[in-house]
């Protein structure tokens, strides 16, 4: 090549090289800008992403608060048990480890198999594994003597939820059980991490399922703590980075009373029924008992399938909370309410008298409604009508009632309403109206329906809770406090007031005298319980008919079948004249109200008053 040509070639090369090297420099600049955008502009996002990669947070379970009665007796507590926990990553030969630990701790074949199955997986990720739950005292002692041999295992305290009165408080306290929803309480911990939670309870992550355990679950459960591990890409825990202690749940101080609840259980015995008692000063519920009951200790801490199936299939339905969900016709216990209605609407007065022939004939159809005493009670006024529980009197009063007004009146007394502030799954039972009958039965309301209502039969049903609430309304002359099981922070609940212009203080006084007479006078239907106590008690008993019968013969026949026998019901309050407690008792198929339910109510009052 000649010189000029070489010069041209060199210039050509230079310009092309400048172009390519320029492109290279631009590319390096692009990389640098990208790195800048990652490291400087996007720093906080990527730093968070890196932390999310490596930080593995697990919850540390908090202990639930304990539950006390009104005298400070523990109803539910946390009882420690001891579990043997291993660190599988420190166990090199699993068979020789099990061989070594066998003389110390008894292991069943299934326990060994389960352990062998999980050991490798847990060892790989450096997580802990329970070898044996609920160690005996001997096992614990043997382990501690030899603990220097077992650097790869330790004993940890795990609690159980235990009540010293597991049977009698089962419905009101309720039970706890394992939950899959615990993760919702701490959204900052990913749901998947909850499987590695550090547990405080042997039974795992638990929550209240029924009763107070459920209603006050948030209050009782406290705040879970948190431990953050550093985790690598294979999911292995490398080390513990931080620990926040859990906060134990608050203790729950209830208004329940152990002695009174025990009396209720004792005197109800193995009969089906319920008892509710209310402290009129505070509205606090002292007794809430349903029979038959079951053991909350077993339910909260593990029960075999067979035991559970037996409870479920028991014809007496032990899980059914009769105190809050049992629907019973109030029978004669409704008569004070009907009387209040008649007086306030001026249908009757205390002086009004009528003849009771033992039955009432409906003028429109000629249908006959019978009283409980053949031949009747003769001349009755309202006072006597309460004492002897004259059906005819109240049939005729109800006959003159306006059903809409009467339904409304009953609702104002708490029927057909939830009346307890903090009861679990309370049924609001039922007050019938013409509209309801028309829409469900496709039939019009007839006078006979109202007449039946007058003696608490027919469509009207109430729960023992509602009856106790009604009893406290009667006891306090309409100025009562809403019932509840817990009074948080010593807050006085406001008064619930029932009043009516047609029903004044004088009417209340006469009403109390009449209801006192039901038990304390020589003519009262519940006079048989008069001598069971040393104070005076007012009340009203009732016998709820399950089958409507027209003849005495048919009635006697029916009595042979236990499940068709009448329910025995009573409401009482005392000690008179300044009542402190109101009690309702229902005994299924117990027949005569005063004689059967009465003694139970009196014994409960006895233990409440004589404390």
């Amino acid at each position: 090549m000649i010189f000029e040509e070489r010069q041209i070639e060199k210039n050509n090369f230079s310009s092309r090289a400048i172009l390519l090297f320029g492109l290279i420099i631009l590319s390096l600049l692009a990389v640098l800008i990208k790195v800048f955008s990652l490291q400087v502009s996007g720093y906080s996002d990527y730093q968070l992403a890196a932390l999310k990669n490596k930080n593995y947070a697990v919850p540390v379970q908090s202990l639930r608060g304990e539950i006390f009665d009104r005298n400070g007796k523990v109803l539910v507590k946390n009882e420690p048990t001891f579990d043997l926990i291993t660190r599988p990553n420190l166990i090199s030969d699993i068979d020789s480890f099990l061989e070594e630990i066998e003389p110390v701790i008894f292991l069943s074949q299934t326990e060994k198999n389960r352990y062998k199955k999980l050991q490798k997986e847990k060892a790989f990720v450096n997580k802990e594994l329970v070898l044996k739950k609920d160690l005996s005292d001997e096992e614990i002692a043997r382990f501690y003597v030899r603990s220097f041999n077992f650097q790869n295992a330790f004993i940890a305290k795990r609690y159980r939820r235990i009540s010293d009165y597991p049977q009698i408080f089962s419905h009101v306290l309720g039970y706890t059980s394992r939950t899959d929803d615990a993760y919702k309480s701490m959204p900052e911990i990913p749901r998947n991490n909850w499987k590695d939670a550090e547990l405080s309870y042997a039974h795992g992550l638990i929550r209240g399922r029924t009763g107070l355990e459920e209603v006050y679950d948030k209050y009782l459960s406290g705040v879970h703590g948190q431990r953050v591990f550093e985790m690598n890409a294979m999911g292995q825990l490398v080390k513990s980075l931080s620990f926040f202690e859990p906060v134990k749940g608050s203790d729950l101080y209830t208004t329940l009373d152990v002695e009174a609840q025990q009396s209720a259980a004792k005197y109800l015995g193995d009969r089906r029924g319920a008892v509710v008692a209310i402290d009129l000063e505070s509205g606090g519920i002292n007794v809430l008992y349903s029979s038959p009951a079951y053991s909350i200790n077993q339910l909260s801490n593990g029960m075999s399938d067979i035991e559970f199936q037996n409870l479920i299939n028991d014809p007496d339905k032990p899980f059914f909370n009769r105190a809050l969900q049992g629907r019973y016709p109030p029978a004669s216990t409704i008569k004070p309410a009907i009387g209040m209605y008649g007086l306030s609407k001026d249908i009757v007065s205390w002086d009004f008298e009528m003849k009771d022939p033992g039955f009432f004939t409906l003028p429109e159809t000629g249908r006959v409604f019978r009283g409980w005493l053949k031949g009747g009670h003769g001349k009755v006024d309202m006072h006597k009508a309460f004492l002897v529980s004259s059906n005819t009197y109240f049939f005729s009063l109800a006959y003159q009632a306006d059903i809409l007004e009467l339904s409304n009146h009953l609702s104002n007394l708490g029927f057909g309403q939830k009346v307890c502030l903090d009861c679990f799954d309370e049924d609001q039972a039922f007050v019938p109206t013409p509209e309801w009958k028309y829409s469900t039965m496709n039939a019009g309301w007839v006078k006979g329906d109202t007449v039946n209502l007058g003696v608490g039969q027919g469509y009207l049903v109430a729960t023992p809770m509602q009856l106790a609430n009604y009893a406290s309304l009667l006891a306090t002359k309409g100025q009562f406090i809403e019932p509840s099981l817990v009074i948080l922070g010593n807050k006085k609940k406001s008064l619930k007031i029932w009043q009516d212009d047609g029903f004044d203080d004088l009417d209340w006084a006469k009403m109390h005298t009449a209801l006192l007479g039901v038990i304390e006078s020589d003519f009262g239907t519940a006079r048989s319980i008069r001598d069971l106590k040393e104070f005076q008690v007012a009340g009203k008993s009732g016998t709820a008919e399950l089958v409507s019968l027209d003849s005495k013969e048919a009635y006697l026949e029916i009595r042979t079948s236990e499940l068709l026998r009448d329910h025995s019901i009573i409401i009482v309050f005392g000690p008179m004249p300044n009542p402190r407690y109101a009690v309702s008792v229902v005994i299924e198929n117990g027949e005569s109200g005063g004689a059967v339910a009465g003694p139970v109510a009196i014994e409960v009052l006895n233990s409440l008053i004589n404390e």
Binding site: M1, E5, R6, I8, E9, K10, N12, F13, S14, R16, A17, L20, F21, I24, I25, S27, L28, A30, V31, L32, K34, V35, F36, L38, Q39, V40, G42, Y43, D45, Y46, Q47, A49, A50, L51, N53, K54, E230, M231, N232, A233, M234, V238
Partner: protein, 362 residues
């Protein structure tokens, strides 16, 4: 100059920047390998051997390289053939050849042989280059590209193609020809996508454009790489303190993704320092190319240094998420003997081409 046999051909700028890069590389590798001494000491041995090779290769006159270039190309292709016939299959690819205790990637040699041969083929041709010469060059480039591509090793194949095309471009390929080729490439791209690319290569490209499609599968690498670099911030988390690196969230920390380790542990300032050294090295090569004694030397220095630059930029762009994932080490830093040897060999040739001067005939 009077005593040419007593002179050692040596470029201090290149030499010291390579020493700096190698020291930093060992340092980074120590952290990236979770303080694995045996990996670092092996790499150290490679570095020492590399420097010796570089200095030795710098000594012969460029004319010797020119005359040997044909033989060198045939030798390289022969090794490739042996790899194809006898090489073990690792992860579905045949890339390695084993001689005694030493195993290396035969394709690495082609990165040198192709530009050397094309430079010696084109250095005395008249400007502009004729069609016949272009055709011969393209056939050689395509054959070498294709053999390596079939291993399969897309990354190295692309680098080999680039190395040849750089020489062709620098030697004066006409602009109109290049324009035409570009149009042809765009038209044929669907064909390349569907028929030539392996499914895993297609998937890499797909996840590059849409990494959130599959965060735990194919795009895991690139997401974790970005997180590592981004979380390093301005100053980095400190030597051995990068959680992405040390807890193994970052893949391939010792090889392709070692830049992410540097980004995480030394931050933006560390990246800036590293890129400055690379830039300095490239600018020195650029200077040597412009001041080289003849057209052959210019083409070789230009071709080799641009190949080195392309290698660097592809790796960087890949780990920061500007390009799809292709297997490509970070030059002088990533673990691996073969690529390190071929790099030192290349810089030995560059130094030889840049430091041998010839007086022009008056």
């Amino acid at each position: 100059m009077n005593k040419p046999f007593q002179k050692i051909y040596f470029d201090p700028y290149i030499f010291f920047s390579l020493i700096l890069l190698s020291i930093l590389g060992l340092f980074f590798l120590f952290s990236a390998s979770n303080a694995n001494i045996s990996i670092v000491s092996q790499q150290f041995a490679y570095v020492i051997a590399g420097f010796i090779i570089m200095v030795l290769v710098s000594q012969p006159d460029p004319d010797i390289f020119r005359r040997m270039s044909g033989l060198f190309l045939i030798f390289s292709l022969l090794l490739l053939g042996i790899t194809y016939l006898f090489g073990p299959e690792i992860n579905g690819a045949q890339r390695w050849i084993r001689i005694g205790y030493v195993s290396f990637q035969s394709s690495e040699l082609l990165k040198l042989a192709v530009p050397l041969f094309l430079a010696s083929f084109l250095f005395d041709k008249k400007l502009p280059i004729q069609r016949k010469e272009i055709f011969i060059s393209l056939v050689i480039i395509f054959c070498c590209f294709f053999f390596v591509f079939r291993q399969p090793d897309l990354g190295t194949a692309l680098i080999i193609a680039c190395s040849g095309l750089f020489v062709l471009f620098l030697s004066g390929l006409s602009w109109s020809f290049m324009g035409g080729s570009l149009i042809l490439l765009i038209i044929s791209s669907p064909f390349i996508w569907n028929i030539l690319l392996h499914p895993f290569q297609r998937q890499r490209i797909a996840t590059f454009f849409n990494p959130e499609l599959d965060p735990f599968g194919a795009s895991w690498n690139i997401i974790q790489s970005k997180v590592a670099i981004g979380s390093g911030g301005l100053l980095g988390k400190g030597f051995g303190e990068g959680s992405q690196t040390q807890l193994n969230f970052l893949p391939e920390t010792e090889t392709d993704f070692i830049f992410s380790v540097i980004g995480e542990e030394f931050g933006f300032l560390g990246v800036l320092l590293l890129l400055s050294i690379y830039l300095f090295l490239l600018l020195r090569c650029f200077y040597l190319a412009l001041s080289a004694r003849d057209r052959f030397c210019r083409l070789v220095i230009g071709g080799l240094s641009l190949t080195f630059a392309a290698n660097l930029i592809i790796n960087l762009s890949m780990v920061v998420g500007l390009l799809p994932v292709v297997g490509m080490p970070l030059p002088f830093i990533s673990k691996g003997g073969s690529s390190l040897m071929s790099l030192f060999l290349a810089f030995g040739i560059i130094v030889s081409m840049g430091t041998h001067k010839k007086f022009l005939p008056q």
